[in-house]
């Protein structure tokens, strides 16, 4: 009954984030106006989570704990690194801003709670554990979106996110319960015995409801309606963080459920994923084209990128399966650096497209970073987004299925579709004359530091690709 020492080592990242979460909250309760201390502790906490996951990965620690419901493998640790790393930059970006709200410790506690939930999530092998940790990651994010009390849109976005999110959670839970009812167990290995080639209607309904719930969490169309309002209203650091960390963790756990829990039903769910991927890519890109608000544009762009990752899910069949898993992992890392960077530039420059006019003359460093992020989001080589897309295309090519070829075709079409709005920003920065609306003087050192580091990571992602793909190959899921 007693928990072994091994289990404590396995839970090290989660224990660290719990500890820092409590300390940061108590700093908020027992001290007046010490936003700096809270931010320092939160940054230290997310770094400690990152380092502990890295150490576990480097020492090759792996195993299954708590009756097989909790697993530590390179796959889970890889996503813990992404979550903790993006949390670090989110804390840096939020440090000064949250201090001005007067509730810095609370905001930073919410970030650490999302880290805790997301890093538990990627390790779960039990359906109810998955639901609990997905809620642990989502509930603080509602509060993060609504945190900016000086702007009405923040409350509006938070409210919309909360109400739609609660419905999505109940749909997800209903799906999980049906799967549990059909298979008689919440353990993924037992679920795999029931989810074989031909599914009963109830099993199909459970699968459909669960996938809908997950589609909401990763803002896949047609479940994406909360995304633009939530990201536009949210504080910049929250939008940057929530569009990356919980999404990466949700993709990870979806991959685990589908591959470990329902490998036999792969023909069914890859078809669903192909359908979702195509709709999501088109909806994201077509709506992003019309946006004049950069924040809203990036929100739709994040919908489109969810579609690209779902395209890799559609390729999880035939000869391309192993490569598709790699594609999801590499795309998530590539997306994390470029998308966070792009969102954080908004803190430096502004959220209206006009703020970027002539930026290259008034603030070359910010303009260069934004240009890099935009080009990376399109997928220009050798920036990070290119490698993500390349992996997905290779995986699709190897799958040998007509449907996946169509999905890959849609991906290429959408990459072209996305050029105008990403390059529109670059065009504004270079070709337009600077006006009084041109931004670039906002933000502080911490935000600037995050943006530059993320720009460097985006640029030199190609150098990381060799160690990263070695790591990804060892991820152990396929």
């Amino acid at each position: 009954m007693a928990v072994s020492g091994q289990a404590f080592i396995a839970l090290l990242p989660e224990l660290i984030s719990t500890g820092f979460l409590i300390v940061v909250l108590l700093v908020g309760a027992f001290g007046e106006s010490n936003a700096g201390v809270a931010a320092g502790l939160a940054a230290l906490g997310s770094l400690a989570v990152f380092v502990s996951a890295a150490v576990l990965l480097a020492t090759g620690f792996s195993g299954s704990f708590f009756g097989g419901g909790y697993v530590v493998d390179p796959f889970a640790l890889y996503f813990k690194l992404i979550v903790a790393g993006s949390a670090f930059f989110a804390v840096l970006a939020a440090a000064r801003w949250s201090g001005r709200t007067g509730d810095a410790p609370e905001y930073l506690t919410l970030i650490l709670s999302v880290v805790l939930g997301a890093s538990l999530l990627v390790s779960m092998r039990d359906l109810f554990g998955i639901f609990l940790s997905i809620e642990l990651a989502t509930i603080p994010s509602y509060a993060m979106v609504a945190f900016d009390r000086s702007r009405r849109e923040s409350a509006e976005g938070g409210m919309k996110y909360l109400i739609t999110g609660v419905i999505a959670s109940s749909v997800l839970l209903y799906g999980i319960v049906l799967i549990y009812g059909v298979s008689g167990s919440a353990q993924l290995s037992d679920v795999a015995n029931t989810f074989t080639g031909n599914l009963t209607p109830v099993a199909l309904l459970g699968l459909g409801l669960m996938v809908s719930g997950f589609a909401f969490k990763v803002s896949a169309a047609p479940f994406h309606f909360w995304t633009p309002d939530a990201y536009q209203g949210a504080p910049t650091s929250a939008a940057a963080f929530l569009s990356v960390a919980p999404k990466a963790a949700t993709f990870a756990v979806l991959l685990r459920i589908l591959l470990e829990g329902m490998p036999g039903a792969a023909p069914t769910w890859t078809a669903v994923m192909a359908f979702l991927a195509i709709i999501t890519m088109f909806v994201g890109n077509l709506f992003a084209l019309r946006q004049r608000n950069v924040r809203r544009m990036l929100a739709y762009s994040s919908v489109a990128h969810s579609g690209y990752i779902l395209a890799a899910f559609a390729a999880l069949q035939g000869g391309g399966a192993a490569f598709a898993v790699q594609a999801v992992l590499i795309y998530t890392a590539a997306y994390a650096v470029m998308n966070m960077g792009a969102f954080l530039v908004i803190d430096l420059v502004g959220e209206d497209a006009k703020n970027y006019n002539g930026l290259v003359r008034t603030n070359p460093a910010a303009a260069a970073s934004m240009g890099l992020f935009m080009a990376a989001l399109v997928g220009i080589p050798p920036l990070s987004g290119f490698f993500g897309k390349l992996w997905i295309i290779i995986a699709g090519a190897q799958s040998g299925s007509i449907l996946v070829y169509i999905v890959v075709g849609a991906l290429v079409v959408n990459t072209v579709l996305s050029v105008p709005y990403y390059f529109g920003i670059i065009r504004n920065m270079i070709l337009e004359e600077p006006t009084s609306e041109t931004g670039g003087s906002k933000g502080n050192g911490a935000v600037r530091f995050s943006v530059y580091v993320l720009a460097i990571l985006t640029t030199f992602f190609g150098l990381l690709i060799i160690p990263l793909s070695a790591l990804v190959k060892a991820s152990g899921l396929l």
């Binding site: 009954m1 007693a2 409590i22 909250l25 108590l26 309760a29 027992f30 009963t200 109830v202």
Partner: protein
Amino acid sequence: MALVLLQQGASYGTVYLYVGIFMLLVTGFVATTLVLARLISPGRRSSTKAQNYETGEITVTDPWRPFPVRYYVFALLFLVFDVEAAFLYPWAVIYKSLGVYGFVEMVIFVLILAVGLIYAWKKGALKWV
């Protein structure tokens, strides 16, 4: 009834068929009642009838206005203790067989909830303003 059928060896499909019939009956009953009521009842609308129902009193103010959320804070705090109690009961029942391990585990659980209470206390949530 479904359980009985299952014990008699009926397949899952048959049992769900019964559930489906019940769902149809329930929605059908509600729909029929509502439609019947709409058809039979004499509808004489007046401004008095359209008013908000305020326990029989005449409404005095517009309901769309800010209202104090003091109760809300207390309700939230109640949740802390409620969750605690819900877990403490089953724990207490098997306390003996759990031994020291169970005791330590519950102390950690209560301490984590206590942090929430301490935070709320320090922030003045327990003051009636």
